[in-house]
Symmetry: C2
Amino acid sequence: MTATVNPAPPELDVPSGRPATVPTPEPGDARLRRFSLNQKTIDRWSVRDAVAGCVAAGVQAIGLWREPVQEYGVKASAELVADAGLRVSSLCRGGFLTSPDPGAWQHALDDNRRAIDEAAELGTDCLVLVVGGLPPGSRDLPAARARVAEAIGVLVPYALERNVRLALEPMHPIYTADRGVLSTLGEALDLAERFPVEAVGVVADSFHTWWDPQLAVQIARAGERIASVQLADWITPLPPDALLSRGMLGDGHIDLRGFVALTDAAGHTGDIEIEIFNADVWAADGTRTLDTLRRRWIEHVI
Amino acid sequence: MTATVNPAPPELDVPSGRPATVPTPEPGDARLRRFSLNQKTIDRWSVRDAVAGCVAAGVQAIGLWREPVQEYGVKASAELVADAGLRVSSLCRGGFLTSPDPGAWQHALDDNRRAIDEAAELGTDCLVLVVGGLPPGSRDLPAARARVAEAIGVLVPYALERNVRLALEPMHPIYTADRGVLSTLGEALDLAERFPVEAVGVVADSFHTWWDPQLAVQIARAGERIASVQLADWITPLPPDALLSRGMLGDGHIDLRGFVALTDAAGHTGDIEIEIFNADVWAADGTRTLDTLRRRWIEHVI
C-alpha cells in the first residue's frame, strides 16, 4: 500500500463560490505593486482590520473612507497606515454639493473643507467627490449641475493650500437622480478643466463609465487629470438594490484589462483601487474576499 | 332638513393611489392631439382591448408591439386600427443585432425584415429598434456596436423600399450589457447620419436619455432624425427589476415638459408615445391607467 498525498482543495472565489482558477499571489509578488484595496469593498473591516489585512496579503495601498477613519480617529488612522508602510490612494468621500438651500450648501462646503483636512492628515492628495443628486422635489438637473460647479470653485483655493486634489467622480446614470449629477467623464472634465490640474482631477471608475461610447476619447483627454482609477464589474441580472449593484472583478461584462490599458496609456502610473459595493461580497469573510481580489487582479486586470 | 349632494370622490392615480389633482380630459379635448398610448404601458391589453380603450378615451394614436399584433394577426390589427381611425405612431420592435454568430445574425436580419413588412402593413413609418446587448460571454463592446452598424447598413435598402424608417433607440446605460449597446443620443446620431434621413432616425425617450449632459445639444442636432418621442419617468428608489424600472409620468425626477420642449424645438411635431414598463402599472386596471396617463399628460407634459 502506498501513501497518497491529497492535494489541498482549491480556494473558492467570493462571492461566486466557484473554484479559483489561478493561485493567490503571495506577499512580495511584484504584480501586486499597483493593487489598492478600497476599504468599502470589505465593509465589515475597521481601519485596523483593513490595514492588518492589507499587510498580511502584501497589499501596499489602501483607499480609506471617512466614516471608519473618524471612528478610529483621523490621527490614529494616519499613524496606523504610515507605520504599516501603506500608501493611501484616496480618501472617500466629499461632495453632496447640490442643495439649493444656502445654509445646507454652506454646511456641505464646511464638511468638504474638513474632508480636505482629513485627506491631508492621512497623507493622500486625492479626495474623491460624489457630487450629489437632485435635491428633493427638484427636476432641475442643469441647476443642480451648476451648483456643483460653483461649489468646486469655492473649494479649490482651500484644496490647493493643502495639496489635496478634488477628484470629481462621474457616476453611472443609474445614480444621476439620487447620488451624482455628474454622469460622464466628458462632463467631469469640462468642469475640472476650469481649474488648475493640481486642484481638480477626475475618477476613472470602470463600473461608472464602461458603457460610455466616448470612453477611450475621454480617458485619453483626461491625461494628468486622472486622480484615481477604481475598478468594479457590471453584473447581470443587476442586483435589486441599485446602490449595491457592483460586481466582483471578472464576474461581469467589463473589459477591465482594456479599461486599465486606456488609463495607463493616458499616463496614469499610480495605484488602482478596487471598490465594490455588493451585499454578497460584504457578507463574505474579508480575508477570502481579499484573496479572491488578488487572484482576479491577475486574471482580469494586469 | 336640507338634502346635500355629496360630490363624487376624486379619481385615484395609478399606481400611487393618490387622489387625482386635475380632471381627466374628455374625448375631443384638443390637448390630447399628440397623445399616443404605447400598448406596452397597459401590458394586459390585447390589440383589440387597446384599440377599444383608446377610442373610448379619445386617444388618437397608438404604439403597437409585434407580439400582441401577431397574436391578433397583422392584417386584422391593421384593419382594426384603421377602422378605429387611430394613427400607429410606431411598431416596437426590431433589433437584437449583436450576435457574433453569422447564422444567428442572419436570422436576426430576417426577423427585422419581417418587422419592416409588418410596420408597413400596419401603416406606420416608424420601426423602433432595440439593438441588443453584449453577446453571452463577450466583453467586447466596440465589436458589438460595430455589428449593429453593419446590420443597419444591410437593412437600410429594404426599409427604404417599404417607406419604413429604422428608429435607433439609445438605451439607458443600465441596459448596455444586456439589452442595447447604443447608449446615448449622440452615438445613435453618429450611426444614423451615415444613412439617408428617411431611412434611419432615432428615438428620443425621456427615461433612457434624461440624465445625459449632452441632451439639449443632441436633441437639437437630431432635428428631422427624431423618428419617435417616448415618455416615462425615472423613479427612486429604482424598482428591483431593472427592466421594469420606468415610472408613471410625474412620479419621478424627469422634467418631462422640458424634454418635450426640446424635441418640439428640434422640429418634432408628431405623436408623443407614453411607454412605461412597470410591474405596479401593469397590475392596475387598464382604464384607470389610461385615465391617469391623460391627467398626467396635462399636468406634466403639455
